[in-house]
């Protein structure tokens, strides 16, 4: 399946884009992240959460939708 992925903050700086489409053949979020770390090794040690179809999900969640977002925490004020 194809997944539309959105990136925010520092994550978008590492991927050098704010969104892209990725072809994915496995089933859950952590498998998707493994694929993403191969493409962007610098993501692996970064702090972020994953949302699927605008809802926060855990790493073992099954990929059911076609939109994922990687959200890092922001510190600045």
């Amino acid at each position: 399946m194809t997944i539309n992925v959105k990136y925010f903050g520092l994550i978008a700086e590492i991927t050098a884009c704010e969104k892209e489409t990725i072809l994915f053949t496995k089933s859950n979020v952590s498998e998707f992240l493994e694929l993403l770390y191969k493409k962007y090794p610098n993501l692996e040690n970064k702090d972020f959460q994953v949302a699927q179809n605008q809802e926060l999900v855990t790493q073992d969640a099954l990929i059911t939708g076609n939109e994922l977002a990687l959200l890092p925490p922001f510190a600045g004020g």
Partner: protein, 361 residues
């Protein structure tokens, strides 16, 4: 003329709503980029009791976005300078300045005197402190945070809703972005995000509209994209805080944004004389650093292996990303071992640098 006639003219507010604002007590933590617009709109709106916590002083580079201050305020404490400006804006409300750092010791008693807490701080340690103190005192937190051109807004702990930890549990092992560093920021961005926070505060007091609880709003100033992400409550994260509440006031923060520089580059480290290199990674982690003599003490075992540290030398700590070595330095400083630094670079960058300069020791 009534100061609040434009509020009172709104059927959703009226005199009754204006009275609610007058009776409200709001504590704003941080009078910086976010705090200034938050405070300005709360004071102008007639929120009757406003507390301002900030230990920091005003610098020239703050004036690009911290709109309550002018050239004459440089060098003054932010909480006190903000109070002076706001009291001129609205002399009918009561404003209290707390020119000090928020700590585990003072936060609970401070929060108890207010109905709503607003987070306008600039570092993760204080954000988690605010979150935890608000859970213990059962107060809602209006959260805002910024990074370059992007901002996040949410309301936590509102009517038993999710907390900041339900969104981002404290992942100390991972590298977090924009932490206390002098990251650039578009001046108007905290104006936008701070105004959204003020809006949430006013709606909560007035009991109108929908509150941004259980949702994270992310705004991008470059392309006006707004995303709203649903957050679920994690009872586990909240119970962890409640179960440790008796020990809350004995805790200390391991980190302060104003602490002296403890992070240096490998180049700066090698310029120092009489040094001991300490690898705080687990023994299995790669790449191994050769060319220099290294003492290996994993972060988790640090406190049990202090005798391996040659404290008559300058201690240079490193790890895989620079995050654990930074933590290790904070631990050592608490133990009064002060002559220590953490290398900013990753272990692969350190290895490469040593190879490039053919370093031998």
């Amino acid at each position: 003329m009534n100061r609040y006639s434009r509020h009172i003219a709104l059927s959703e507010i009226g005199q009754a709503g204006q009275n609610k604002l007058l009776n409200a007590k709001v504590l704003v933590i941080g009078a910086g980029g976010l705090g200034c617009p938050i405070l300005q709109y709360l004071a102008a709106a007639g929120v009757g009791n406003i507390g301002i916590v900030d230990f920091d002083t005003i610098e020239l580079s703050n004036l690009q976005r911290q709109v309550l201050f002018g050239s004459a305020s440089i060098g003054l404490n932010k909480a006190e300078a903000a109070k002076t400006r706001l009291q001129d804006l609205n002399n009918t409300i009561s404003i209290t300045a707390y020119p000090k750092k928020l700590t585990h010791q003072n936060s609970l008693s401070l929060f108890k005197n207010y109905d709503i807490i607003v987070d306008g701080t600039d570092n993760f340690e204080t954000r988690y402190l605010i979150n935890d103190a608000a859970i213990i005192t059962n107060k809602p937190v209006v959260f805002g945070a910024i990074y370059k051109f992007e901002g996040q807004v949410s309301v936590f702990n509102y009517k038993a809703g999710p907390s900041y930890r339900c969104l981002f549990s404290d992942q100390q092992e991972k590298e977090q972005s924009g932490h206390c560093e002098d990251v650039g920021v578009l001046g108007v961005l905290p104006g936008i995000i701070g105004s959204m926070q003020a809006n949430e505060v006013l709606k909560m007091i007035l009991e109108i509209g929908n509150i941004l609880s259980g949702k994270l709003l992310i705004y991008n100033a470059l392309n006006f994209q707004t995303s709203v992400i649903k957050i679920n409550k994690s009872e586990e994260e909240i119970n962890k805080i409640l179960n440790e509440k008796h020990a809350f006031e004995t805790k200390t923060m391991s980190f302060s944004c104003n602490s002296e520089t403890t992070q240096i580059s490998i180049e700066e480290a090698l310029k120092k004389e009489n040094i001991q290199f300490v690898d705080v990674r687990e023994p299995s982690e790669l790449p191994k650093i050769e060319h220099i003599t290294i003492t290996s003490i994993p972060l988790n075992d640090l406190e049990n292996n202090l005798e391996q540290l040659e404290t008559n030398k300058v201690l240079i700590l490193f790890c895989q990303s620079g995050k654990r070595s930074k933590q290790a330095v904070s631990i050592l400083k608490q133990l009064k071992i002060n002559n220590c630094f953490s290398i900013k670079e990753t272990s692969s960058e350190i290895k490469k640098h040593l190879e490039n300069i053919n370093y031998e020791r």
